[in-house]
Symmetry: C2
Subunit: 83 residues, 2 copies
Amino acid sequence: MLKAKIYVQLKANVLDPQGKAVTNSLHNLGYTDVIETRISKYIEMSFRNDNREKVSQEVEKICQDLLANPNTETYHYEIIAEE
Amino acid sequence: MLKAKIYVQLKANVLDPQGKAVTNSLHNLGYTDVIETRISKYIEMSFRNDNREKVSQEVEKICQDLLANPNTETYHYEIIAEE
């Protein structure tokens, strides 16, 4: 079995309202050293297939087709053997 | 400046309805090798402080106070120098 560790993040120039809200809350709680918070998705996906190349091709398509919005998000991933 | 890379994940025994929905969608799209999908939060937090120990203590408190639900989520993080 293989596992894909997928990160789907807002592009750097895209405003992150959720992150801004967390930063403001933290300032109100006294954590004034926090400059910026960026919140994104981390997805672990298990495959019953052991063919690393095939799984990598599938993950690339899955990211494009389903997980990442090409207008506002970027994605990167790594494929590891499932423990 | 220092940056905290924080992962907030559902505990292994907690059902992930969002992950299940993605897995079902993938099966409908023909990606039948996908066994399981677990979706969690990945948070990058920048600090103007360079004191690694102080930032680590703050991140620990921030995770407990704000970011992670102790009943259903676990968290882990690493502190790196901001590029």
